[in-house]
Structure formats: structure tokens, C-alpha cells
């Protein structure tokens, strides 16, 4: 982040904003000393609390970088799987605190180091690691329960349907376990996934992994709305960490809103790699671009006027139909068109270089956290596939839905609620 580079001192001491949900931040006395009078009253370090009621990396102030990975479990042994979850938990706790995996002990000179080393000196950079479970962890391809998890599959963990226009590549989709690492330093995020994958060899294998290089959502009031690769502000109307009511209604699974008590305090993650037809988009007139999005490119205001956070007026007449076209992205997906349903979006711009035809292989790695995909994602995606003018410039190349278990307390391991319920 910009502030960090300017300061020219250890990132560990730096403040990058009021932080995630207040309670999640550890206090760093040194940070206050280093900044003296420049510091706002709140104190912070670059670490995000790993333990808590909910997992970190959901309402945490959206970091700038992401590395997400889907794993398939290769062992049949429930004990080995649980042992891995314990190992991961310990490693994540250390990395989230800015420490190397395995702690300070470098071990034998004749053994590979426990930590791969590339994050040394980079601090924690607001690292969060969020772990979730795919439907295929619970049931094999014949519908038989795996790992003794019979009766534990939440009804909401559905198989996402094929949506019109989907060009989903199986090898980029699904997976038994998802691990999302977010940080403000790309090397910290990649380091986390690399080390967790290493711990997993023999128990899991990597199915896909994806790097996101820039956030496309704001998740706190303090954050600016970022822009996606269409050049438009994205996530203007997102659910924010401060909005406890909206989180309770649309994101966190409550005790009474699930058939699976182990999911209380958890949520569901939808992940979709959405490639943008960058070159054809860039050749489209500003008129077309704004009519597709339904907003003004420069300011983010709806076409019905005002500023970024003005409510769109879908009834306002234009010369041919509403001034915000009915097939514009904002009109098709606005909560008012979906019984007030909202998602907590937390996606990232991605690029995987260029395709073989000299075009950018780039777009949005869409991530959303919802209380139930059946009510909060599938109907919206159906509407989008059927009616959104933006589809002309999009290609959905992956699809995944994961149950994100609740957070844990020290001494517990990630997923314990599931395996010991």
C-alpha cells in the first residue's frame, strides 16, 4: 500500500487504516512510538487477529492481494485429514502473527528449513487465511459419505448449477477444501499458500490456484471504492464490516438458519473466475460502457444522477426506456430487484498473463460471502446470465461453493466444529 512505501520503515510498525472490525487488531506499542503525532488515536500493527467468533478474511478490511487455492484430499484417513487441519491451524497462527512457520528455530543444518523463507522481513502485511469445505469433501462422486461425515453436509452446500453462458473449466473449479490467503504484500499471500501446500503433500493435492492482484471491493467505511478491470468502481453498495444487521441477515449463518449446528457463525463462499473480454471492452464507446454498467465511469454515480452513493432511480425515464437501462448490470443485480438480498463481495482483479492470441487473460476473481447461496447467489447469477448486458464482455471460467466454518479459539483447530460435532 502507498503509505507503507512512503514511510520507509519496517512494515511491522505501520498503520494502514483503522483496520478490520476494530476488535480484530492487536495493539502495537512500537507503532505508536514510531509515528508520534501523526498517528490517529487508534493503534494498530500489521497483524489481523486469527482467532475469533468468525474466521478472518471475510469482514476484514479488504487487503490488496490474494492467493486462493482449491485442494482435493487424497487420503481416505480421517485422522490424517484432521492432523493436517491441526498443522495448518498452527502454521496460520504463526504466519498471521508475522512469524515463520515452525517458529524461530531453524532446525537441523541437514534438513530443509520448516519455513520457505521468502516472507522473512516482510511482516504479516495484514495476512488472513480463510479455510472452507467443498461439497465433495462430504460426498464422493457416487454420493457416498467421506471421512465419516455422513449427516454433516449442510443443505445449503449445493452443487452450483450451469448458468447460461458458463464456460466453466473443471480443473479450475470446486475442490474439497478452499484456502484463501489475503495480504497487503503479494509475497506474503503467496508464501502462506506455498507453505500450507507443502504441509499438505501426501494428504491433499492442489487442484487449482489463483492470484488476485488488486481488491475490487471495499469492506469498511474507511476504504475507498476500488476499480475493476473495466475501469469502473466496483462494490459501491457492498456490505460493510460496520453493518452488523446486514451481516447477520445476509452473511453469517445463525444457529436457527442452518440444518447443521457446526455451521453457526460460519458462512458460504462463492468463488468464480470471470474473465473479461478486455480488448473488445476497451474498443466500446463510453456510451456503451456506461449503459452496460448503469453508472458514470468517472464518478461511479448511477446514470439517474447524483454521486457515487446516491441510490439509483430505476423508474427515472430516459429517451428510450429508463435512463438506467433495464439490462444494465446495476439494474439486473440491485438488491431492489432481488427482495433486498445482498452479498458481501470480496473479489480481486486477476491476470494470468496473456492467452495464446495475444490478449490479456484477465478479469475478476469473484468472491462473495453469503448466508445461503440458494437465496443469495443462484437467483442473482441466473438473472445476470439471462439479462445482463455485461455478459457480452464476460466469460465465467470457474465456479466453486464452499462452507466456511466459524472461527476458533486458541487450542482449537480450523474445522473442529465439523469434525467433533
Amino acid at each position: 500500500m502507498g503509505e507503507e512505501k512512503k514511510a520507509g520503515i519496517s512494515r511491522r510498525l505501520l498503520l494502514t487504516g483503522a483496520g478490520a472490525g476494530g476488535a480484530g487488531l492487536a495493539v502495537g506499542a512500537l507503532a505508536a512510538a514510531a509515528f508520534g503525532g501523526q498517528l490517529p488515536e487508534k493503534q494498530a500493527t500489521d497483524t489481523i487477529e486469527f482467532y475469533g467468533e468468525h474466521q478472518a478474511g471475510i469482514t476484514t478490511e479488504a487487503q490488496d492481494r490474494m492467493h486462493i487455492v482449491g485442494f482435493d484430499v487424497t487420503t481416505q484417513d480421517r485422522g490424517k485429514l484432521v492432523a493436517l487441519l491441526r498443522d495448518w491451524t498452527a502454521a496460520i497462527e504463526q504466519m498471521a502473527a508475522g512469524q515463520p512457520v515452525g517458529g524461530a528455530d531453524t532446525g537441523s543444518y541437514d534438513a530443509p528449513p520448516a519455513d520457505t523463507g521468502e516472507a522473512e522481513g516482510l511482516g504479516a502485511a495484514h495476512l488472513t487465511v480463510t479455510v472452507g469445505f467443498g461439497r465433495s469433501l462430504f460426498l464422493d462422486e457416487h454420493g457416498k459419505p467421506r471421512f465419516g461425515l455422513q449427516g454433516k453436509l449442510p443443505e445449503a452446500l449445493i452443487e452450483l448449477p450451469h448458468f447460461s453462458g458458463d464456460m466453466v473449466e473443471e480443473q479450475r473449479s470446486g475442490g474439497d477444501i478452499v484456502v484463501q490467503a489475503c495480504a497487503n504484500d503479494p509475497q506474503v499471500a503467496v508464501h502462506a499458500i506455498r507453505n500450507l501446500s507443502r504441509l499438505g503433500f501426501g494428504t491433499v493435492r492442489v487442484r487449482f490456484s489463483q492470484i488476485g492482484f488488486g481488491r475490487t471491493a471495499k469492506t469498511t467505511q474507511a476504504q475507498q471504492t476500488p476499480r475493476n478491470l473495466f475501469g469502473f468502481k466496483d462494490g459501491t453498495a457492498n456490505i460493510l464490516a460496520e453493518d452488523a444487521d446486514a451481516l447477520a441477515k445476509h452473511v453469517w449463518v445463525g444457529k436457527d438458519s442452518t440444518d447443521q449446528p457446526w455451521m453457526a457463525g460460519g458462512t458460504y463462499m462463492v468463488a468464480r473466475r470471470i474473465r473479461m473480454q478486455i480488448e473488445t471492452w476497451d474498443r466500446s464507446a463510453l456510451r456503451e460502457q456506461e449503459n452496460v454498467v448503469g453508472r458514470i465511469k468517472s464518478t461511479g454515480a448511477p446514470l439517474s444522477g447524483g454521486e457515487e452513493f446516491s441510490e439509483p432511480d430505476f423508474a427515472m425515464a430516459g429517451s428510450a426506456g429508463p435512463i438506467i437501462p433495464v439490462d444494465s448490470h446495476v439494474a439486473v443485480l440491485h438488491p431492489s430487484a432481488h427482495n433486498g438480498v445482498q452479498m458481501l463481495r470480496r473479489g480481486f482483479n486477476y491476470t494470468d498473463g496473456s492467452d495464446g492470441l495475444g490478449r490479456l487473460d484477465a478479469g475478476l476473481f469473484f468472491i462473495a460471502f453469503v448466508i445461503d447461496a440458494r437465496t443469495h447467489f443462484v437467483p442473482l447469477q441466473k438473472a445476470m446470465s439471462a439479462n445482463d448486458a455485461m455478459n457480452e464482455y464476460l466469460r465465467h471460467t470457474s465456479s466453486g461453493l464452499y462452507a466456511i466454518p466459524p472461527g476458533i479459539q486458541p487450542g482449537q483447530y480450523l474445522g473442529q466444529q465439523l469434525f467433533e460435532s
Binding site: 447460461s164 466500446s284 464507446a285 454515480a301 430516459g318 495475444g358 446470465s385
Partner: protein, 383 residues
């Protein structure tokens, strides 16, 4: 600066009486554009006079209603240029080419009535920037020519579809396979027109992946899959083929009927040309359009022809106003055609799956080279 009031006030006072009113909100901007402040009851231009050539009005809606801004000819009827859908608080530009003469500028708050009008004078153009006085006539000619083309192509499409449907239904596979890419060229030449009918396009031209779960797979690509059946595919029965064939003819007839009533404008032609190249870029050069028959280069050729026709109809509007763009388009159309000609085989083309990676990459680069200048055509012809 001049300020003009709502029509009622204008009638009472007379236009001349208003000259000399000032408004501090509207100012001429550094880039030479003429600032227009449009509110619910006033339309204030930074100046009432400009030199002939390309004029740019920067219209800010200061009111609460959706506004429009027009430059009207001396008769107060003919629209020289317009910008619609200016939402409250939004600024939109109108770029228009106007020769020396008398005009009216008009804001239309709420999009109703004759608008709040004021005289606008265009003086002699600077040397070398003269504008043809019959630009409107050139625009009309372009639109008329293109309308004839659409009519012709759509009628040939219907005739060809009937032949194809008959062969397909009768199980005359060799005949149907031969007709398939040829007839589809009529569709592909006017594809943006076909796609403008959002209800018919998916019925006639959807690929299997375009469909939602449970949606019926019909149209050209349904027949394509049956004719060039992939491994493990179960062929349709005669009754099923008849049903697909009947649907093709029925919906194409409907499409052709509707196409006759379409009205064209220069921006539609230019945007349509750009969309045709987008189609090539995203569907044909990737081999995704014709996943089973691999006849993508027929479609490519047809898209290119359709775009070229639109460009040629519009070219007179570029003469003397954007010769550089004209020359660039002419050259790049020729180059891409030459690239494509290299793959001609008899009456048709090589199949997409016979092309090497390098050949596809070269074609893609040629498409990009033409698409970039083509994306600037609309702005050049509407002004």
C-alpha cells in the same frame, strides 16, 4: 454570455431582449468546448457564437429532471446533433460538425415539449476546416444504402434457410452440410441486426453452453451438432429433425419480417461494424462459434464483409473530415481480407481445426489491427 429562459418566458420577452444576460455558472472551457448549463427552467450557453467546424458542447444538467440538448437547423426542425439522457448532475458532451449558418440550441428538461431554445450562430470556419453543408444528406444516404443491404441479405437468408431446413429434415446430410456454412454467411453478415432481436437470437443461434439448465437447444447449432455429430452423440430422429427445421424457418421468417421495419442511423452502422469484428475476435478466431463443423472461417469472412459494407457506406462522411481514419480503415480491411484469402479452398475455406497455432495468432493480430481504428468510426461519423 447569454441566458435563455423557459419557453413561456421566451415568448413574452422575445429572444433578442435576452441578449446580454449573464450567468456566472457557464464558462467557456480550456479545450474550446462550449459549456452549457441546463437546469429545469433555463438553458445557459457560455457563448451564442462559434466558428464553423467541429463544435463541442459540454452540457451539465444542474436540474432535477432528465435533460436533452439539441443543435437544430435554421428551420428549427432538423436535428443537426443531439445528446439524450443527461441525468441530474451529469455532464455529457455533444460533438457535432456544423458549417456557417444560423441554428438553434435547445435544452429539453424532462424530455418534453420544444425545449428551451436560443439562437446559435456559426460563423465562417477557419481555413481548411470547412464542413460540407450536406452532411445530413450524406448520413441519410449511408443509412439508406445499408438498409437496402440488410433487406437483401435477410431475404437471401430466408431463402437459404428454407433450402437448408428441407435438406436437414429429409436427412440429406451431404447437401445440408454443404449448405450450412454458405447460408449462415447471410446471417453472419448482418449479425448485429439479428442479435438486436433478443428473443429470436437465442432460438436461432445459441450455442449449447449459452443455455441455462433446462432450456431447449434449438436453431443452427442444434442442427450443426447433429450433422457433425461428436463421439457418443445420439442422432436425432426424423421427427426431431423436422421440428428443428420447422423452427429455423418459422423464426427466420419472423426475423426477416421484423428486419424490414428497422431504421438505421450512422451510429448504428458504425457500431454494428465494430460489433461484427468483436464477433470475429471472441467467437470465430477462437474457433468457438462452429464447435462441431469448424466452418468458422466462413463466418469470419461474412462478418468481415458486413463490417466492410457498413464502413463503405459511411466512408463519404470521413472524406475531408477524418481522412487519416479513412485511409487506415481502407488499408486494414484490405490486409485482413488478404490474410483470410490465403485460406480459401474452392468455394469455401479451410476448416478451423486445420489451422496451425501460428496461423490463428496471425489472424487474431489482423483482427485487432482492424478493430482498433474501427472502434473510432462511430464518433467520426455521428458528428
Amino acid at each position: 454570455m447569454t441566458k435563455f429562459l423557459a419557453p413561456a418566458a421566451l415568448l413574452a420577452l422575445g429572444a433578442l431582449a435576452l441578449t446580454g444576460c449573464t450567468d456566472n455558472n457557464a464558462t467557456a472551457s480550456a479545450d474550446g468546448s462550449i459549456a452549457v448549463s441546463a437546469s429545469d427552467d433555463a438553458c445557459t450557453l457560455a457563448t451564442g457564437t462559434a466558428a464553423g467546424g467541429t463544435l463541442k458542447f459540454s452540457v451539465k444538467n444542474e436540474g432535477t429532471k432528465v435533460n436533452e440538448f439539441y443543435l437544430l437547423a435554421e428551420d428549427g426542425l432538423r436535428i443537426v446533433g443531439e445528446v439524450e439522457n443527461i441525468g441530474p448532475g451529469v455532464t455529457r458532451d455533444l460533438v457535432v460538425m456544423a458549417p456557417e449558418g444560423s441554428y438553434f440550441a435547445a435544452c429539453k428538461p424532462g424530455m418534453v415539449g420544444d425545449g428551451i431554445r436560443s439562437p446559435f450562430t456559426v460563423t465562417a470556419a477557419a481555413a481548411g476546416q470547412e464542413v460540407s453543408a450536406d452532411r445530413a444528406a450524406l448520413q441519410q444516404t449511408a443509412a439508406d444504402q445499408y438498409a437496402s443491404y440488410v433487406k437483401d441479405q435477410s431475404q437471401q437468408l430466408l431463402a437459404g434457410t428454407e433450402d437448408f431446413a428441407a435438406a436437414f429434415a429429409a436427412g440429406e446430410e451431404a447437401e445440408a452440410k454443404q449448405l450450412y456454412p454458405q447460408v449462415r454467411m447471410h446471417w453472419e453478415r448482418i449479425e448485429p441486426v439479428a442479435e438486436s432481436f433478443g428473443d429470436l437470437d437465442p432460438i436461432l443461434d445459441a450455442r449449447e453452453a449459452d443455455l441455462e439448465e433446462g432450456q431447449e437447444f434449438t436453431g443452427w447449432h442444434r442442427a450443426e451438432k447433429d450433422l457433425w455429430a461428436p463421439k457418443g452423440y445420439t442422432k436425432m430422429s426424423q421427427a426431431q429433425r423436422q421440428q428443428i427445421a420447422d423452427g429455423l424457418v418459422k423464426h427466420t421468417t419472423e426475423l426477416v419480417t421484423r428486419a424490414q421495419a428497422l431504421e438505421f442511423t450512422p451510429d448504428k452502422l458504425a457500431n454494428g461494424a465494430k460489433e461484427l469484428l468483436d464477433e470475429v475476435a471472441t467467437g470465430k478466431v477462437t474457433g468457438e462459434e462452429e464447435a462441431f463443423s469448424h466452418t468458422d472461417l466462413w463466418d469470419f469472412q461474412a462478418n468481415l464483409e458486413g463490417a466492410k459494407i457498413a464502413y463503405e457506406d459511411l466512408a463519404p462522411l470521413l472524406e475531408g473530415t477524418d481522412d487519416e481514419l479513412d485511409a487506415q480503415l481502407k488499408e486494414n480491411f484490405e490486409k485482413l481480407q488478404a490474410q483470410l484469402d490465403a485460406y480459401r479452398v474452392g468455394e469455401g475455406f479451410k476448416y478451423y481445426d486445420q489451422l496451425g497455432t501460428e496461423q490463428v495468432q496471425e489472424l487474431a493480430a489482423g483482427v485487432d489491427a482492424l478493430s482498433e481504428p474501427l472502434s473510432r468510426l462511430t464518433a467520426a461519423v455521428v458528428k
